[in-house]
Assembly symmetry: C2
Homo-oligomer: 122 residues x 2
DNA sequence: ATAATATTCTACCGATCGGTTGAATGATAA
DNA sequence: TTATCATTCAACCGATCGGTAGAATATTAT
């Protein structure tokens, strides 16, 4: 699969993979699935056993995580073994960090300006 | 508004605010709105002028960002001025960072174990 | 060969989403 | 007062979402 080089300074806006990653981790069940997978590889069945929803529900969540690139599937016989793929998280973190720092710096500067202009503020 | 103390070591799973933040930034239009707001306060109209969707569409996106706590609204007369609120991003970043580091360490350890066991690997 | 197991596929449900349109509200300007 | 402007509200649309149930597929066990 041809993968776009992600080592750019300013993150672009329209990256479907980034959309998918954020959408994937927006669901608490999927975050819990990722946390469960942090303990090591699991097949779909034993993973599903840890959640209060149906097997098929978990299977669908896994597919969402897979499309986001956060989970990799290794089929061996009739069992599908799932393992984490943290690479996309790195990009997602980078985007967040980039903007968070930028915004906080901007807002801090603005507040400093206001303080300097009209005195301190509770 | 009573706000939960968010200075805990291990991020919990069911935090609706976190869900809302990730869901909010999963949409590229909303990320672009945040980026536009990084340039300073804007009212809904001038913000909407920068996007190829309807005024009402932008207004709805702003409401989503507001419910996620990422945007604050200050009504002055008939204009609503919007400004960034980066605090929720800090929590969102913290969660991502926490898990990313944990997972990468785990997977690196696993890979090292495999390499040590059965020799090098392409 | 037959049965049990692990999993996906298909179809459905109600809820939410992104988006539009048109009407309503409220503040300013003439 | 009467327009005009900035904005939300309410209703709608088709698409997607989280979830369930049941059928289909393939692998393993008897």
């Amino acid at each position: 699969m041809p993968r776009r080089d992600s080592s750019q300074a300013a993150p672009r806006a329209h990256r479907p993979q980034l959309n998918r990653v954020y959408a994937a981790i927006a669901d608490p069940t999927r975050r819990a699935i990722l946390a469960a997978l942090a303990g090591g590889e699991l097949n779909v069945g034993s993973l599903a056993g840890r959640f209060p929803i149906s097997f098929n529900g978990v299977s669908k969540h896994v597919k969402v995580l897979e499309r986001a690139g956060l989970v990799r599937r290794r089929v061996r016989g009739r069992e599908h073994w799932l393992r984490l793929r943290p690479e996309p998280l790195r990009e997602a973190t980078r985007w967040l960090e980039h903007y968070r720092e930028f915004w906080e710096a901007r807002l801090d500067a603005l507040e400093a300006l206001l303080v300097g202009t009209r005195g301190r503020r509770p």
